[in-house]
Symmetry: C2
């Protein structure tokens, strides 16, 4: 490992460009919109512990986590934009929590109110997951405001969890059914410096996969829960994707904090399995709604992709942590893929509506033709809230803290993992990054107060003809440059051409198909712009025109191709000898993240190659 420490978003201001706009909408629209939906559905009310049998809005086992992620988002936003009204709202939620937390430190609005006798009896019922998210929120709120009331309550909760699970072992299960707590405990340790929290996180991680599977079904259940092998022996990404990547994130944290090479190597092997065999081109993971899970290698169906928004976020989280363990550009490359595609496709451009699933293909004709057949298809238009509404507040906290992904630092080197227009200040140093990334690959990085150190800038894998204004040496995908002056400027040029991509031949679903990328952004064709995307064939030898769609404010790419155009009236037969009856067409593509913002429409990331 070649470790470095994240320069947190708290030290960075996004000053313009892509993420500036996203953060503005997030702060001004999304946070309130999600809160409003959570109020309407009784989620905030559940914190009052006032629900009674027979009333509507019965608390659900994972509601605390929804509120916790919203609180964490609010904290992140307060950290950069102090706001009395927002803070007092958060304080009122903490009031509820303080009023209702048990003497033992336990808080869960479902298990205390709806099923008081069932505490710690059902592993899959998200209890420790909810606790983890509350801890994350408390840490964030402490960092944002310096107020430690919430943090202290959550320390009591963590202490109680330690007592039940580690000391007394009195719960009906030994490790979380939905991982999350592990990485939250690491954050709690880093915030409080109390090593017991780190040890408790390690405890949960080390205790996975120790049972002996008794039969096929219990083995399948264990695989689903990343519990089939001790974590250091796991080599493939298995089971529920979000649970898996939250676990892998915690493993990467522990590997780094404890210099645990074996754990790091397991993370690295699992990362390779994901990125080389089990991930969509958008950074989406999860090939089926059936368990929201990883399936086997190269099984990546497009129309029925699950690719949950939370899963792409969890993959970015895992990648971000791996970059801190060992700056190999493969991690930040995948983080970048998720950042600009599979995470933000989960939220509408107006910031109010969300996808849980992010399919890579929507075929409305097929949907209509099979409407009477009971089979699951992802929704085709975003909605304001879900019954299981984990994704909306996850996107919110992700966007609010996006600057976390830019830099890390160790004694020698400043690593630049992601490019965003921003200013950072820490110690005596000041960093100014000017760029129109992800739409333009020219980056001007001005570094003050770091003479004598090295800056290592990531060369994305999509870029093959970059240039850098100073002498550099490439190591693991980063260009290392000596910082020769206390006021040092580096110009990086990562030329972005629209380019056609293909999947490895083993991906049967994408055989004969291609996808369009420009820089880190994956594009897609929508029915609203194209006559029939499923009967169209792209000519990769023709040039691609760049444009802009004013209606939704996104860049467009227009390719040349051919439409298979046999009309039924002149050829009544469904099957006929192959004919060359194509007619030339233009095919218009928009960024994948912007699909489904202009009404219901066909959509495809992977299109046929002529």
């Amino acid at each position: 490992m070649n470790k470095s420490e994240r320069i947190g978003f708290s030290d960075i201001n996004i000053t313009g460009g892509f993420w500036y706009n996203r953060q503005k909408i997030n702060r001004e629209i999304t946070l309130d919109s999600v809160r409003h939906q959570f109020e309407k559905t009784g989620r905030f009310h559940a914190f009052d512990y006032a629900w009674k049998e027979g009333e509507p809005n019965k608390p659900h086992i994972f509601w605390d986590s929804d509120i916790a992620k919203w609180l964490e988002s609010a904290a992140f936003i307060l950290h950069k934009n102090p706001d009395e009204k927002l803070m007092s709202y958060v304080e009122s939620v903490i009031d509820c929590l303080e009023r209702n937390i048990g003497d033992d430190g336990y808080f869960n609005s479902y298990f205390d109110v709806v099923e008081p006798g069932a505490r710690w009896t059902r592993r899959n019922d998200h209890e420790l997951y909810c606790a983890g998210h509350l801890i994350e929120a408390a840490v964030a709120y402490y960092y944002a405001t310096g107020k430690d009331r919430f943090l202290k309550l959550m320390c009591r909760y963590a202490d109680y969890i330690e007592k039940v699970f580690k000391i007394e072992k009195s719960a009906a299960f030994a490790t979380p059914g939905h991982e999350e707590l592990e990485l939250a405990l690491v954050k709690l340790y880093l915030c409080t410096k109390n090593e017991r929290y780190l040890t408790l996180s390690e405890f949960f991680i080390d205790n996975r996969g120790l049972g002996t599977p008794k039969d096929y079904f219990s083995y399948q259940a264990r695989i689903y829960a990343q519990d089939h092998l001790p974590v250091r022996e796991q080599t493939t990404a298995e089971g529920h994707c979000v649970r898996a990547c939250y676990l892998y994130s915690a493993m990467a944290d522990i590997a780094k904090l404890c210099d645990d090479e074996a754990l790091f190597n397991a993370c690295d092997t699992i990362f390779d399995n994901i990125s080389r065999k089990r991930m969509y081109i958008t950074g989406g993971i999860g090939s089926t709604h059936n368990g929201e899970r990883f399936t086997g290698d190269f099984d990546l169906p497009n129309a029925t992709a699950y690719a949950e928004t939370c899963a792409a976020i969890s993959l970015a989280m895992f990648c971000g942590r791996m970059s801190l363990c060992n700056p190999d550009s493969k991690y930040a490359d995948i983080a970048e893929t998720a950042l600009y595609n599979g995470t933000i496709s989960g939220i509408s451009l107006d910031g109010k509506r969300f996808f849980y699933e992010n399919p890579l293909e929507i075929n409305l004709s097929e949907r209509r033709a099979t409407a009477t057949v009971s089979k699951h298809v992802p929704i085709s238009q975003r909605v304001e809230v879900f019954g299981c509404s984990c994704c909306p507040p996850n996107v919110t906290r992700f966007i609010a803290s996006i600057a976390d992904y830019i830099y890390s630092l160790n004694d020698d080197t400043l690593f630049v993992h992601q490019y965003m227009q921003s200013e950072a200040a820490f110690g005596d140093a000041k960093l100014t990054m000017e760029t129109d990334y992800p739409f333009d690959g020219r980056i001007n990085l001005h570094i003050e107060g770091m003479a004598g150190k090295t800056v290592a800038v990531r060369i994305p894998s999509w870029c093959t003809d970059f240039s850098i204004s100073e002498e550099y040496e490439i190591r693991k995908g980063y260009a290392f440059v000596k910082i020769t002056d206390d006021s040092f400027t580096l110009n990086i040029d990562l030329p972005m051409q629209a380019k056609w991509y293909e999947a490895l031949p083993k991906v049967w679903e994408d055989a004969g198909k291609i996808a369009l990328k420009k820089g880190p952004i994956v594009y897609c064709a929508e029915g609203v712009d194209n006559e029939n995307i499923f009967a169209s064939f792209v000519d990769i030898f023709e040039s691609i025109e760049e444009g802009f769609d004013d209606s939704i404010g996104v860049p467009t790419l227009t390719a040349s191709g051919y439409l298979k155009s046999a009309c039924e009236c002149c050829t009544p037969l469904l099957y006929r000898p192959v004919k060359g009856d194509y007619r030339p067409i233009k095919m218009r593509f928009i960024p994948y993240y912007a699909f489904a913002n202009r009404g219901e429409s066909d959509m495809a990331v992977w299109v046929h190659k002529f």
Copy 2:
């Protein structure tokens, strides 16, 4: 309509070639194999009415139809090959039936034995379907042996059904839930000349679709049961495919017998909907296991095709009847497609094992990758018997009576719909057909005793460069030739070249893909012959070599193509800029009907076009 009468298989001997071998295996292997399985599973025993609660092999609602179809198969075989032992076995089954049939004429081994109180209470429980198959069997046995005991029992049953459903209307439902009885009653009428049976069939047909759907769900249930509209107003093929085509077959029968043009037109419209929008290239129908049903236009998924063996048979039955109403070659073309592809793929080459579903693609990698995901996939290897074992005895009776599809006759014209090496004799006429069809398109037809009439031979739609030894005139796909002599010979040459086919562009599943046909036979590529059929791309401009596979005795076609061959070791990234790393390969194809006869394997009818 331009009606003609079928020259039945009883007047025809298949004397060699493709169907001769099929009938030999059917007679010598399949009939006994199916009987053995039906004995083992208690189906024959159920006819004894001896089953008691708690015993194994509880009779099932559709078991009588399994036995009936086996009896009908046995009768067809006895008709051409008298066999004392087989006849006495059939007689023993009829003994059971005679012993247990009610005084009222009712017989049902499930409703009499397992649920005595539930007679005529549940429309979907196959009661009238079982009755229909028993009637068909009785008619066939009477024709085969001249013995009328079974026929008389079934006349009593039909009389009872007339009383309950038409006269007293005392059943809980008005028309069959699973159509079949309608066409059986037509056969009973033709055999007994008792017009009440024809009238009863018309009654059931005319009473469909008269209810008013109360809500969406009841409307969906009606569509599923071909009950959404009066049959003359139906325009699309809907619901359960086998039920649908059995109904359409009876409708065609009635249209012909009653000169009902409106009914014929409805059949024709529905036929066009099937053949132009809702049928696989193999003649398979049914796009989902979910209800074994038609879905919407152009929805024809290959790997999850249902394409039940019985459904292809029922489509052939419908087409055969439509040819008798009006000899337009479009009907016999589709019958031929089903005959040589989607029906006989349902039985192994050794005659012992069966497919219920006939998918057009098997991807073993995908199956392995998704093994933990609960989703339905068709089995990949044939088995000896199913829980719902309708297909095995259906194939058996279909093959035994295949010669039914060859000829029809009216006052002026002898129609030749299908080509099989055979001899036919009726009245003063004798027909000798010499051909190696379906592997060779040269047909020598010798006609004796028909001077002055016309012979009309079908020119298959796959054939564009035929030649005929006498002067002809084409009308609706048939070449009409004057029979100038009492000993008249016609040479027909339908050159068969291997040819690539494509689907209409509206079939999204097949976009960019092609299928190989030679004459009427659809070919497929199997994994056992090819490295990776899902990463292979065929070059349609290269010639196709013809060969033969000695191991299973079928012709082969070998095409040239390219394999996308990127290895993972040199390209660790799952997605990469498009490369031209193809290597030339040969792709071997075998007839689709012969797939899955050499162990479990990948399979595809539709392959990528380079």
